[in-house]
Symmetry: C2
Subunit: 213 residues, 2 copies
DNA sequence: GCTAAATTCGACCAATGTGGTCTAATTGTA
DNA sequence: TACAATTAGACCACATTGGTCGAATTTAGC
């Protein structure tokens, strides 16, 4: 990658990165078009290949960029000392939402990385991706107080069920917001609705208060 | 569509339909390649345009085919008289699984129909799709006995939470099975696991037996 | 203001892929 | 044998591909 690219003003740099992330996320490496990238990024064709040697180098740059971002902005924002599973999930949801607002294409790009395209991805990237996924799992389960859960239901299964419920809510929310003007949305009401949901999950899966030790 | 296509032996007809469904599902109308379709369907290029006038006619044929299939094989298999929400969901899951095994690309194709491609889809197709989606919703909620549910939790929210939990399980299952040899799988054990999950959901969301009226 | 370097652009390139056609071969049928 | 139905893929004009390059513009130092 050319040093010039790093010296670009933030806005332009971001336009290029986002356009490329989106194109690769939607089409995979092979079918992604550099022509479309420069078009949506609103730069000349020459510039892309001035900043990056070729399509491949751009792709690898984006992997690195995305992994770094996910590690610093997604994983490090959550307090692993919170022992309440649902509270932990709340924090994860919040950091994920913020991440998604600031970097809308990164998670899509990372998610589709390995299921498309004939380009062989270097092992060190695969390794880093695996490490990140493992971190996300331990972020979810490490140091959780299982005592909060009601005893008549397998805790492992409760973990998963709660996770799926929250994912379901978030997916529905995303689908619902997709057609809206993003600047007009009042996010607070959605957060309130979300917190309500978390309370319901607590009454479902946790011991009743009088049972707490 | 040429009559000859209908007279094709079942296997060949299916090869073509599936190849096309997959290609359109993955790439949308514009980016879908008729070359790739004939290649995966293992027919000559000329045949595709002998059976169908052009790419567009093929696409519309697939929409019609998919909508018909979904209506007959997906919606009509569920007993709307079952008043137990979770039992209803069990039936829906079963018919959906069977459908997915027999027609692996149809639901993907229908799902991606409207979110990609510049081709304008005729209104009557949009209408039929909407009707199908509405049918799926009423299939889920119509005639459900809300009395089974515990009183301290909003029933509407319980509906959604249960649905999301089941969807989450199914998604995980699909992701897990993706890398496996499909013929080697013992589905019975997965169904047992699934039934266990449904029991858990009942203990979570339904009244205790002694509370039933 | 002058000059040289850094940056930008898009016309251009050969190569490949596009939807679609057409001919010649094969198969089925009587 | 003869005629029609069916098949495959070479072929078409055109669009798109990843990538290059020279000329134009902007920037920086003097």
């Amino acid at each position: 990658m050319n040093q010039t690219f790093q010296n670009l003003d933030y806005e332009k740099q971001n336009r290029i990165i986002n356009a490329a992330l989106q194109e690769f996320a939607e089409n995979g490496f092979e079918k992604a078009s550099t022509n479309r990238i420069v078009k949506t990024a609103k730069i000349g064709k020459g510039m892309l290949f001035y900043y990056f040697q070729n399509k491949e180098e751009l792709f690898y740059y984006l992997i690195n960029y995305s992994l770094n971002l996910a590690n610093t902005k997604l994983l490090e924002q959550v307090d692993k000392k919170e022992p309440d599973f649902i509270e932990r999930l709340k924090q994860i949801a919040q950091s994920k939402t913020e991440f998604h607002l600031n970097h809308p294409n990164v998670l899509n790009f990372l998610g589709n990385l390995f299921l498309t395209g004939t380009l062989e991805i270097p092992v060190h990237f695969k390794k880093r991706y695996q490490e990140m996924m493992n971190s996300r799992i331990s972020l979810l389960y490490e140091g959780i107080d299982t005592n909060l859960f009601r005893k008549d239901i397998d805790t492992e299964k409760a973990f998963k069920l709660i996770k799926w419920s929250i994912d379901g809510y978030q997916n529905e929310l995303i689908a619902h917001l997709k057609n809206q003007n993003l600047t007009m949305i009042n996010y607070d009401t959605y957060w309130e609705e979300f917190y309500e949901l978390l309370d319901i999950l607590k009454t479902l899966y946790y011991k009743k208060e009088e049972e707490q030790e």
